[in-house]
Symmetry: C2
Subunit: 350 residues, 2 copies
């Protein structure tokens, strides 16, 4: 592949001149228009392309970001990645995706390779808190900025933490249900109580309920890392209580689907007998029966923000590690569909 040297040789000028022209530095250091255009056209003819590798080696700046994840194929991770790529591309950066398997002790190999590649900055999703800590400790000495995205139990001083604004999301959800006359609202999370995501949802839910002076009934609030069948079972259990909630907020989109199924299994009509509202992905609910309303989390925006903030801090090459982790919460969006309705007459008393 043709190099800067080849062009210089062909034209009888120095490599420096070629480099300057091709990098558009010619305005600073003045190159004659004649030489300039000769170089440009020759480069074109010869099919020259910078060797980004050599450039990176020379400048020590790879213009590559690393994205660490345990589950690149799950919806949220993929959305975050997409948002991140778009923003990175816009700023002339690449994204390398690394998969981590063992996230508690944090895959040493992956970390090693991040450092070897002289990655400019890193962001990660779905790591355990201890994983993030390990990451942080490894990165700090090398001043590699770090951002943690989505529900990760980020320890103090671990850089940026970007997540959904659960509070406004839950507020919107409860507001909406309240406006439809619902007073008995349950929360089935589909996430383990251990996870930050579950705690955040629960907390935001309790807060939103309090704002409306509604009682949080413990039996109607359940957490757990459920598969389809477990979700079904829990939902049936909750919907069979008396009194039962008239509306259920599901902690994830898949959980929502299973709750709808459970309701139907009990002979309840959605939304006539019970309203169901999902939380998470925007799209999937559109295919549910009935189409499921959701509080959509801003995954793409989260990836985008992660990159934007990391790149802002790149030039100074210095993370404010000592500061407590800075949280950025991005707004959710309530998407109404056919799974919520005015509470039925027989169910109006709290």
């Amino acid at each position: 592949m043709v190099s800067i040297t080849d062009i210089a040789a062909r034209l009888g000028v120095s490599r420096t001149t070629v480099s300057l022209v091709l990098n558009n530095r010619s305005d600073q250091l003045r190159i004659s228009d004649a030489t300039r255009s000769r170089i440009l056209s020759t480069a074109g003819e010869m099919g020259y392309r910078v060797n980004a590798l050599a450039r990176a080696a020379s400048t020590g700046n790879s213009r590559v970001l690393g994205f660490l994840t345990t589950a690149p194929d799950e919806g949220p991770s993929a959305r975050i990645l997409t948002g991140a790529i778009d923003e990175a591309t816009r700023q002339g950066f690449f994204v390398k995706v690394l998969r981590i398997h063992n996230d508690s002790a944090l895959d040493d190999d992956a970390l090693e390779r991040c450092l070897e590649m002289r990655l400019g900055a890193l962001f990660c999703v779905y790591l355990s808190g201890s994983g993030v800590q390990v990451l942080r400790d490894a990165l700090e000495p090398h001043s590699v900025p770090l951002a943690v995205v989505d529900d990760v139990d980020t320890p103090q001083n671990c850089g940026l933490h970007i997540l959904s604004d659960y509070e406004s999301g839950m507020d919107a959800a409860v507001d909406h249900l309240f406006a439809l006359g619902h007073r008995r609202i349950g929360l089935l999370m589909g996430l383990s109580e251990q996870e930050l995501g579950a705690r955040q949802r629960r907390h935001a839910f309790e807060r939103a309920m309090a704002l409306h002076q509604l009682t949080v009934v413990p039996d109607w609030v359940r957490a757990g890392d459920w598969g389809p069948n477990e979700t079904d079972a829990v939902a049936r259990e909750v919907l069979s209580l008396s009194p039962a909630p008239t509306a259920i907020i599901a902690g994830t989109d898949f959980t929502g689907l299973a709750v709808i199924r459970a309701a139907r299994g009990l002979g309840l009509r959605v939304p006539d007998d019970v309203s169901i509202l999902g939380f998470g992905d925007a799209r999937i609910g559109d295919w549910a029966d009935p189409p499921m309303a959701v509080v959509a989390q801003p995954f793409a925006a989260m990836g985008q923000m992660a990159v934007r903030h990391l790149l802002e801090r790149l030039p100074q090459k210095e993370m404010p590690w000592s500061d407590p982790a800075r949280e950025i919460r991005l707004p959710t969006e309530l998407i109404l569909r056919a799974s919520t309705a005015r509470v039925s007459q027989t169910n109006t008393q709290p």
Copy 2:
């Protein structure tokens, strides 16, 4: 960050010696065990990490693969990526994900950047045929191997093409339905007729039907790039025909969900009145109501195979471009769930 030179200086040996030891080339060119261990331990103490950038610049080999996609956040793309990353990691390679927006003329910028980064090989999904052609033409002069994954209308001579084995997948699907007594089977694809995926599914479907001497009823076979509502409408239309199919194979998982919804909307019970079988993603059907049987496509394996084949061809640095595109078809898996059942008595006549 500490370099090979630092270590050499500290130890009073040459950079060469350090390089040899750290690369385990010491067996070829014999280095004394003493020196060897001194170097290793010093490297450890000083926290040395190869500068992969410099190495790549020097060897001209970046050990990075590029993954081009128009929709990194869609299920199949993400699955393929995951499989690819796993295989790449296993072989000491990285994967850079590039998003392409304009795929007909192929995002020139992205291509430019692939070449600049001296990517070792590329694989892509969701490109148009002309996009692949552009890619191929740009890559050939530089001997960059290319693999096209999944439903892409790959022109001749465009390297490897890796896709699902639609024939055995459809055979399994039709076999299964046939065994349940179904004779009137429809195919609602949810993919535009223009797309390779639709043509492949249709062809495989017709073949499978013929194997069982079943008639393909044109009215029951529909293609189109449908959203939820359009799918619903088409499904209702087909299910309202008389005679109507007793079983429907949906071309994608989401389409399957909407078909179930449409059936229910018409007062039909699934699977009692009509059986429904999805095609595509393995997981999502598990959350459907009823849980939906699917022919699962081997997305992760496809990514894995793409990488494996590309890496095989890396050393010789030469693609057999002149050969017709070599197709590799990977087996699907029939996952049975509750959406299919023996055909009802009233529906037994073809």
